[in-house]
């Protein structure tokens, strides 16, 4: 079966700095795939190239068998890729509900239908009770979930999550992990996530890609990756494994 997302030899440089260096990987349909690595490893740049915010200097991104590299972000989204931002950007003056309705309207033409869909998404992400609040009034964890809700409302086939666990308490992390697992299991949603919280990564990901200085230094099942010497050396640290 061909993968839902295929990244091939993708590179991006900012002046002298090679942010992403010939990275290749494939995400099969219906799986959860994690990208980890130290700060500045190029994870968010990689995301921005997949989502269309940057066009790559070299390499290709294929989604559902078609090239999407170089497409504008809105067109990538219309193909079926939803995303969140590392630094959250909900629509601050709009209510939680309206934020999600905007996403739901992508494939629905009437506000009425979009509202019903938005409510379903908000319930799934435990935000339904806060639907009348302004997005700017939410706490950071809620805003992260709101961004997820907004992206989910566009009915993506692939969801890109950029550090949605950061800043969450352990219980909130566990809740988020179970929400993502549920989504993946029940709707078949494919998820690609950047994450630092290893506890979440280990619980979720079927496969992990490790970036360091823009290059892929390891890829594999979670158990293999956390035992990889190069990964321990550059990112996890020896004490994480013992």
């Amino acid at each position: 079966m061909s993968p839902l997302l295929a990244v091939d030899n993708l590179s991006k440089r900012f002046r002298g700095l090679v942010a992403v260096d010939r990275v290749s990987f494939e995400v099969p349909q219906g799986t959860i795939f994690a990208v980890i690595g130290p700060n500045g490893a190029g994870k968010t740049t990689l995301f921005n190239m997949i989502a269309g915010n940057f066009s790559p200097d070299a390499g290709t991104v294929s989604f559902a068998g078609e090239r999407i590299d170089g497409l504008a972000p809105d067109r990538v989204c219309r193909r079926g890729v939803g995303r969140t931002f590392q630094i959250v950007r909900p629509f601050p003056a709009l209510t939680v509900e309206d934020n999600v309705i905007v996403g739901a309207l992508l494939h629905r033409h009437h506000a009425h239908d979009a509202r019903a869909h938005a409510h379903a998404v908000l319930r799934r992400l435990d935000l339904y009770d806060k639907r009348s609040q302004r997005a700017s009034a939410l706490t950071l964890p809620d805003r992260k979930r709101l961004e997820m809700a907004r992206a989910l409302a566009t009915d993506p086939k692939l969801l890109l999550l950029d550090e949605v666990m950061a800043g969450l308490r352990p219980t909130e992390t566990d809740r988020m992990v179970s929400i993502l697992k549920e989504l993946n299991r029940e709707t078949g949603l494919t998820i690609l996530l950047i994450e630092h919280v290893m506890r979440a990564v280990m619980a979720l990901a079927a496969r992990i890609l490790v970036l360091h200085h823009g290059a892929a230094i390891a890829e594999g099942a979670p158990d293999e990756v956390v035992r990889n010497a190069a990964v321990i050396d550059s990112y996890l640290g020896a004490e994480a494994v013992t």
Partner: protein, 334 residues
């Protein structure tokens, strides 16, 4: 359609709205000639504020050159009337598309080349200035000498040719303001309205949920320009004279935006409320000064300045958001 428009609006708001509309419909029966002319100015700015608000309040694109669209509507309809005897409602069919095309051109230039924020505002000023200088040299429309519509005393109101007494213009503007209000409400409740608000709030985030921001910003500019140009047609036939230096002057553009700013940018009631507050109080001030025998040129401008200062300091979101909190409507969408 009607059911959808009033969906979720509390009964007391509908009642209040009904009372205001009834009062405005009946006003000419009791209003003096002077009061009627003040009300005409108020409705004119309420309508224009509503049109400008689509661009700035909904889609977040600051235009400081809306006098351009007023002028294009005014000059096109007036010139067709003066030269060919074509009535304003037919003239509209030329004036409104002209303004729409001008808006589309400016929008295309700006949005295609990612000109945003302050630079976009400067671009809109520039085009209004181009028009001012251009019309100064356009003999067909009387250049600097002005374009005059033939005037005589009218015993009857000729609605088809917009020749008649102020009361006719009052009702035309009242209908236009009401339609603009209803239209804006419908737009805000529709897909396009949500997309505009998303673009206003965060354009990059809007793109990330699949919104073609270029397209929807273009639609906002064109709708706003088209609506604005209709007010221009009324302006031409109400005042019967047009001078480029007056019509296209940046001061005209600023006057248009003061109402919505004072009333509340992005709200439906703001532009109307702002027009009433600003024009109403300014005229009260002028007549009070006249009654006292004080002649102070520029008093109105100083008054506008003070109003703006007060609103910015005390109610940074404008009067309507404050008022709606006061009457307990803050949980509703504007």
């Amino acid at each position: 359609m009607i059911a959808r428009l009033v969906d979720g609006v509390p009964l007391r708001v509908l009642l209040l709205l009904g009372i205001v509309v009834a009062a405005l419909v009946l006003a000419p029966l009791v209003a003096s000639d002077y009061l009627l002319t003040v009300l005409i100015v108020i409705l004119y700015f309420a309508y224009l504020g509503q049109a400008w608000n689509i661009m700035m309040g909904f889609a977040g694109q600051l235009s400081l050159g809306h006098a351009l669209y007023v002028g294009l509507g005014a000059y096109t309809a007036a010139a067709l009337y003066v030269h060919f005897g074509i009535g304003p409602w037919i003239g509209l069919l030329a004036g409104v598309p002209t303004a729409g095309i001008a808006g589309a051109f400016i929008g295309y230039l700006a949005f295609r080349f990612r000109v945003g924020g302050v630079y976009f505002a400067i671009l809109t000023i520039a085009f209004a200035e181009f028009a001012r200088v251009g019309f100064d040299h356009l003999n067909w429309t009387g250049s600097t000498g002005g374009l005059f519509l033939p005037v005589k005393q009218y015993a009857h109101n000729d609605l088809w040719r917009l020749r008649g007494q102020p009361v006719m213009f009052y009702y035309v503007l009242l209908a236009a303001t009401a339609l603009a209000f209803i239209g804006c409400r419908a737009l805000l409740q529709s897909r396009i309205g949500y997309f505009w608000l998303a673009i206003r709030e965060d354009e990059e985030a809007a793109r990330s949920v699949g919104i073609d921001t270029f397209r929807y910003k273009m639609v906002a500019v064109v709708i706003s320009a088209v609506m604005t140009s209709f007010a221009g047609v009324i302006l031409a036939f109400y005042y019967n004279n047009l001078f480029p230096d007056q019509v296209f002057h940046i001061e005209r553009s600023i006057e248009i935006i003061l109402g919505p700013i004072v009333g509340g940018i992005g709200t439906l009631f703001g532009p109307i409320l702002g027009a009433f507050v600003l024009t109403g109080l300014a005229e009260t001030l002028t007549s009070a000064l006249n009654a006292l025998g004080v002649d102070l040129p520029g008093a109105k401008q100083v008054f506008y300045g003070i109003c703006l200062l007060l609103v910015i300091v005390a109610m940074p979101d404008g009067i309507w958001p404050w008022l709606s909190r006061l009457i307990g409507l803050d949980r509703e969408r504007p």
